[in-house]
Amino acid sequence: MKLRIQNGRLIDPSQGIDTVTDLFIDNQKIVAIGHAPEGFDEAEILDASGLWVLPGLVDLAVSLREPGQTQKGSIATEGRAAVAGGVTTLICPPDTRPIVDTPAVAALIQDKADDAGMANVFPLGALTQGLEGAQLSNMVALTDAGCVALSNHRYPIASTKVLARALEYAATHDLLVVFHPDESSLSEGGCAHEGLVSTMHGLAGIPEEAETIALMRDLLLVEKTGVRAHFARLSCAKSVEMIANAKASGLDVTADVAVHNLLLNDQVLSRFDGQYHVLPPLRSDEDRLTLIEGIKAGVISAICSDHQPHEKMAKIAPFAATEPGMANVEILLPLAMQLMDEGDLDFSTVLTCLTSGPAGCFGLEAGSLSVGSFADFILFDSTARWVWSYETRKTKGHNSPYLEEEFVGRVMATYISGQRVYQVV
């Protein structure tokens, strides 16, 4: 079926395009920009006047909670939330129950995602069996079953020998490994950035060294083994410097950051509001600003939602007893655009970090509207004012400090392979 998206402002940083033009889609793919190819006289026309036409977003961290924790979310509900947020491609972590350490679980997730017909879902496979940090997982089988990379998530690998061997093995087969740098003996029991705010409020701190010591170890092992590496959810200023140095020395590594670590600092914890309990924790304003600098400098190439839906009761408790995480995939784009309001980042940079940036980290063919790509795109109303309400939210999660807040800019429709999967009614 042929489709002509007419008169929208097409913005695609991967091609350096920002102009009002037409987009032509045929047989799931983008076939032309600007001038109609032959045979498009009869095409369906969609008037996008006044709207922005953007590549579908690529989110490197969306917990779907299925299998195993469907009281928090499911592939269907979180998939719907993702496309409502304009996310057309997502990576889900291996910490499901059972864990993604067998091809069967990886296949189950992808089959259910296909049935749901929502975003393109790519699972991460466990780096070690059961994420227990002892025995290597069947990495090649997992990759063959559709896992795009391997990760031990935030679960510790206490033995450096095990980690080194896992990386050597992954390197043997040219597999990508995703690191969540965390020295668990330092972060254990902590719930907040170790600093003045946590000290004043008596919240057990997580020092920045929990991240940087692990990051240093990981970087040394990446250098030694030559494994392809991506560093996920950086939170400290020093980590940005360390990744920058690693890149400068020729190491081929990439990094991402959760959007809330760019927008919030530990000052918000003075209310003891469990909605702000996240891991890695919200850190100091200096850390936050350095992460933003890291994006400007290209050290960090992806911004993710780090979507972690929870049932209501998971957050109704004293701060330390709440479960960590926010469920923000639905508002990822307007949230990330708040980084522009402060004059920190331009839209092109923000959009790159939500599209071609993350796609590049994982080598995914996504996040671009170039001719020949699958037609994953969104129609965005940059001036729409709307309230993300509890009643109309798509995620099953109850946990976001942004619920019932007003946003400027709204995803009006989402298309995957040329098919509309979401539209504001």
């Binding site: 170790e194 600093g195 003045l196 000290t199 004043m200 409020h201 008596g202 919240l203 057990a204 003075s270 209310r271 003891f272 509001d273 009761m313 109704i316 408790a317 004293p318 701060f319 330390a320 007893a321 709440t322 400090p401």
Partner: protein
């Protein structure tokens, strides 16, 4: 729901206490009012009839998720002297039990139409959590939440200091020991700073005295002699045995050797310095028996003052609740 800061939650629209969660954000006038009111209750304690009817007909629930005999008993006595009916609940919490049970417990107690909860819980911020999740007309008094705050303990310490020293101006105060885990030290630091002492020193090894306390207005000392030099008030904190297991200290004996308060080390302070301890004391771990029982020790005065301070805070919070209810009822009529 966006939560508010504890300091905002605990005051009604007239700026009066309706809960007592933390000393953070309370001004000198309010702290002085608590002390003045406590003084008036103190003299009452010496009379043969020790009751006043300020909380008559009110139900006070002592809700202790963490064990404590002394604090619970003084709260109970304070409530009874205010003529309230008192229920004691000791709820053991296991490490795995989460907010569900806490919230359910609260809802059940609410349904019994209580008027005031005295809460102790091992999580920082729990008193604030309870104040935000209970029906608004129940006064919440924080009897210690995690490492965060123990405001009635700090105020009874302030009363003890004022009664012995006449005031706060110009005083130098040393707090010695496990500051990191101490809700008492945090609340004391806030009270002392607000009441205008000239210096608060926090004394202990780096493992127990994080540097961030300097940003809260304290002077940090790692050496006991420097810490005690010329001070008017010494507060010794209890050292928990778990701290040795957590690799924060080598041993009790080494701690005592470096930071223990003995007749010899007490001599570094002013000759008329008073010695306080929130209790229960570990003799021979943080303080020697000679000092604990000596004439500079005011540890037992603290206990007596504790009842008066708790009476003051409970009566103020209850009246703040009623004033708040009155004005909201009046607002509805308009």
């Amino acid at each position: 729901m966006m939560r508010s800061e504890p300091r905002a939650v605990q005051l009604n629209e007239h700026g009066q206490l309706k809960h007592f969660l933390t000393l953070d954000g309370l001004d000198k006038t309010l702290l002085t009012e608590i002390l003045d009111r406590a003084e008036s209750f103190l003299s009452m304690g010496e009379q043969s009839v020790k009751k006043v009817p300020l909380l008559r007909g009110k139900t006070v629930v002592n809700l202790f998720f963490e064990n404590s005999t002394r604090t619970r008993t003084t709260f109970e006595l304070a409530a009874k002297r205010l003529s309230a009916d008192v229920i004691n609940l000791n709820i053991e919490t296991s490490a795995t039990s989460k907010g569900e049970s806490l919230l359910d417990t609260l809802k059940n107690l609410e349904a019994m139409q209580s008027d005031m909860f005295i809460v102790r819980h091992s999580d920082s911020g729990s008193a604030h959590f309870i104040a935000e999740h209970c029906t608004p007309n129940i006064a919440i008094i924080n009897a210690g939440d995690g490492r965060h705050a123990h405001p009635t303990q700090a105020m009874l310490d302030m009363l003890t200091i004022r009664r012995h020293k006449g005031g706060f101006e110009g005083l130098k105060v040393a707090i010695v020991g496990d500051i990191l885990h101490s809700r008492v030290a945090r609340s004391q630091l806030q009270a002392l700073t607000t009441l205008g002492v000239s210096e608060v020193r926090l004394v202990g090894p780096k493992t127990l005295v994080p540097s961030f306390f300097a940003e809260m207005g304290a002077t940090i000392c790692h050496d006991l002699e420097a810490g005690l030099k010329d001070v008017d008030v010494i507060v010794m904190l209890r050292l928990q045995k778990e701290r040795m297991k957590g690799a924060l200290l080598p041993s009790e004996s080494e701690f005592y050797r470096l930071y223990g308060l003995t007749v010899e080390t007490l001599a570094w302070a002013k000759p008329d310095a008073i010695v306080m301890h929130p209790g229960p004391i570990n003799r021979g771990v943080e303080i020697s028996s000679e000092v604990a029982d000596g004439k500079q020790s005011v540890i037992l005065d603290q206990v007596t003052n504790g009842i008066a301070v708790r009476m003051a805070v409970m009566s103020m919070a209850m009246s703040g609740q009623l004033q708040s209810a009155d004005s909201s009822a009046a607002g509805e009529e308009k």
